[in-house]
Symmetry: C2
Subunit: 204 residues, 2 copies
């Protein structure tokens, strides 16, 4: 074997990253060792640091370093709206729009029966505790009035939104879903038929 084991170990370890196979991992390992050992050291420190310091927000369940995340403790946010997203990355995408000033609930996943991820695994129980009056009092004095389902518009995301919507029917909250439709800036000719059909159904 010509390759040293430290390089093989690194190539192996890099494959824990989503979307990285053996060839990408080998390329990454080579790049780091040949051209960016400083980056490799920084990455090692960031990984250790994140593993040690990150935990789930007691309120919205996103990843944070404190008991509650900065959004949940921000008094300027609208305490009556709760936006349900799949991941912190989705939350960040919504925050970038500056179109929403309410609170969030991060599922940290989506329903995916084929992978063994059911309602229990994505923490629907936590979501109900958050919304229902008792759970809400524990968190803040203002009850949630609207739950906005902002899971992805994939099969799993739609299923997740549907299950949550059904389950919330008994609670005194308005449940809405982000609108489907034609992306801003796109020409109808190049938009898929499913999207156009939905933009008819959801027309204003």
């Amino acid at each position: 074997m010509a390759k040293p084991s430290a390089l093989e170990n690194l190539t192996q370890a890099l494959q824990c990253l989503p979307g990285v196979g053996v060839k990408s991992a080998a390329r990454m390992a080579f790049h780091l060792m040949q051209q960016d050992t400083a980056g490799a050291k920084a990455l090692a420190r960031a990984l250790d640091d994140a593993v040690v310091r990150l935990r789930h927000c007691s309120c919205c369940y996103t990843l944070t370093e404190d008991v509650q995340c900065a959004t949940c403790v921000d008094p300027a946010r609208d305490q009556t709206q709760l936006c349900v997203v799949e991941t912190p990355a989705d939350q960040a995408a919504l925050e970038r729009t500056r179109a929403y000033n309410g609170l969030y609930f991060v599922l940290m996943g989506k329903l995916s029966p084929l992978d063994g991820v059911g309602p229990r695994e994505i923490g629907l129980k936590r979501l109900f505790d958050r919304i229902s009056p008792e759970g809400d009092e524990r968190v803040s004095g203002t009850p949630i009035q609207e739950v906005i389902l902002a899971t992805n518009f994939t099969a799993e995301g739609e299923a997740t939104a549907h299950v949550i919507g059904q389950a919330l029917k008994g609670l005194p909250v308005r449940v809405t879903r982000l609108s489907r439709g034609v992306p801003v800036g796109s020409e109808l000719e190049y938009v898929d038929v499913g999207t156009i059909a939905h933009s008819f159904i959801d027309r204003r």
Copy 2:
């Protein structure tokens, strides 16, 4: 800011990997922290370990943990052939073929004038020291008789092979290049014209 700084740091640090932008990095960071903290710890250890232990082989310049790599010290390898490759990954690809039993020289790069990488940066001097009689004696008793240029068939790789070929003209070694041609198993109809043209030129 809703996102904690440890997560932001990790997202930032992951972008040192080639081909990883801010969105991929965010997805990777989230995946590691939510589903694979063991993988994150293992990756941090592998990175630290590789940075500390890896160095360049004194003979072929590949990455190794010893003074000389396993290939260079293997007496069963043909000591008269030297295959010049760009990276350890290319070397590994050639080794997988089991079609070559000589030695290697790993450039650890390629000529890329636009990125400021000239003949000096990719260590052509080291290559000449390796091939020329004095340099060769230091390494092993048998002089190199054939240099096989196995740089990639990209513009930079071809340029690198050309420059090395020109520079080796004065030395008493045979300089060859891997043949270009139609990939095994492919149909002519679907092969690009440049490749077919080269397979005419290099026909046997």
